[in-house]
Point group: C2
Chain length 253, copies 2
């Protein structure tokens, strides 16, 4: 289902995922929200399964995800695919590409998505208007990097069950921040093939581990919904520390 956002007449700014997310880092003034608003100029829609950014593409715009889920991935020379991360509403898509000149990855919508297109000079304009927003965008980039680091540690050193539990908890924390989840659970459009490509396991292995996690009373992933049967036990099992994602209060008042 597509969430309706009124752009011209009724900007529902406080419900916009990016404003919510940046608000966790910076207490945004009305003036700053107005500046952020300028990024929402060009709305576009992309269909599930059709790449919106290709690895190697040059001078790419970036996007802010308004609704739906996407994934960023890299193809290796031999055709293998590694999913780097999934993106949820409020996330930038391809922020790296806009500053790195060449996209080092592809982006594919997991569901149909709505995005706002942002060019490098739009960002520069926002940064010029308010350096606090520049710091907030640097924060989102740092948070994205922290997640990739966690995935690196996961693939390098964690067992399969811990890795998947960690993955589901991370999504929970991210979705909670933008009002789309809680410690009870969240709607999740991913299938075992997508999770497999992100975690570095086979789909069969992912299925088996998901069954184990359910049978041990930790977390159930079924019919497009993740339910934590015992959130705290899952956290302890996965050695999950939320601090790299969470701001208990805004850092910049």
């Amino acid at each position: 289902m597509v969430r309706v956002v009124y752009f011209e007449k009724e900007p529902i700014i406080d419900t916009r995922p990016l404003a919510r997310k940046l608000g966790a880092f910076v207490t945004l003034s009305t003036a700053e929200l107005d500046v952020l608003e300028r990024l929402y100029k060009r709305k576009r829609t992309f269909l599930a399964g059709h790449d919106l950014v290709h690895q190697g593409q040059e001078d790419q715009a970036c996007y802010i995800l308004l609704s739906g889920w996407a994934c960023s991935y890299k193809l290796l020379h031999d055709g293998q695919r590694q999913i780097v991360d999934f993106q949820i509403p409020g996330d930038f898509l391809g922020l790296r590409s806009v500053v790195l000149h060449v996209s080092d990855h592809s982006i594919e919508p997991v569901t149909d998505i709505e995005v706002t297109e942002v060019y490098a000079f739009d960002l520069l304009d926002v940064f010029a208007k308010t350096p606090r927003l520049a710091t907030a965008v640097l924060w989102t980039a740092s948070r994205d990097e922290a997640m990739v680091v966690e995935h690196l540690v996961g693939i390098g050193r964690r067992g399969a069950a811990e890795r998947i539990a960690h993955f589901l908890l991370e999504l929970c924390a991210r979705l909670t921040l933008v009002g789309m989840g809680s410690k009870a659970g969240y709607a999740c459009p991913l299938n075992q093939y997508l999770i497999a490509d992100a975690i570095g396991l086979s789909a069969v292995h992912v299925n088996r581990v998901l069954r184990q996690l359910r049978e041990h009373g930790m977390v159930t992933f079924r019919n497009g919904y993740v339910t934590f049967d015992n959130y705290d036990r899952t956290v302890a099992f996965a050695d999950f520390e939320v601090s790299y994602l969470d701001q208990s209060m805004p850092l910049l008042k």
Copy 2:
């Protein structure tokens, strides 16, 4: 050996690694170099092997590395260590920590190092003075993230020999950008234990692979020096694309 930098009387700005590095992204004006200069207020020295940032530490400053090498790593619950990346002169240490409130990793000097300490409000001050520098710092963060993504792909999907060749080529590109290496080679203070913890292999395995790469006439790592016997062949073997690190020309004029 410690590189001497004169702070008060003779600022040798153009030789400073960070200015060189940012200069690849933004053509820096004299006024912008002056603003960047303000970050170089508090010089500190740390000894090899003694952590300067601990995982979990709060409200941490970040640092700009002036001389020497460092590594950032994460300790898992069971005591295993995953090195996330190495830092060379011109790199930020703990840039994520300063915006994420809590450090998600530890930082250890590989050699004795000299750094400049930077607080969150120093960065905010610089961003307020010139948004182009904010974009440049976002670029360095994005570039760091791109490297972690490459490491993730490496550990997830590349073979041991390709992974080590890729690792040595990436260091080459980074060192070349700050004037400390070329396609011929570079001085490298890492040992096989550090490489092993970064690559996700055992030190014995690293040694064996390094010997293979040498015997195949690609690259030799010996006596603290990496020499490319055949740079192009190594690039082809590792499927190394420099575009995620390199700016052929500044993006912002």
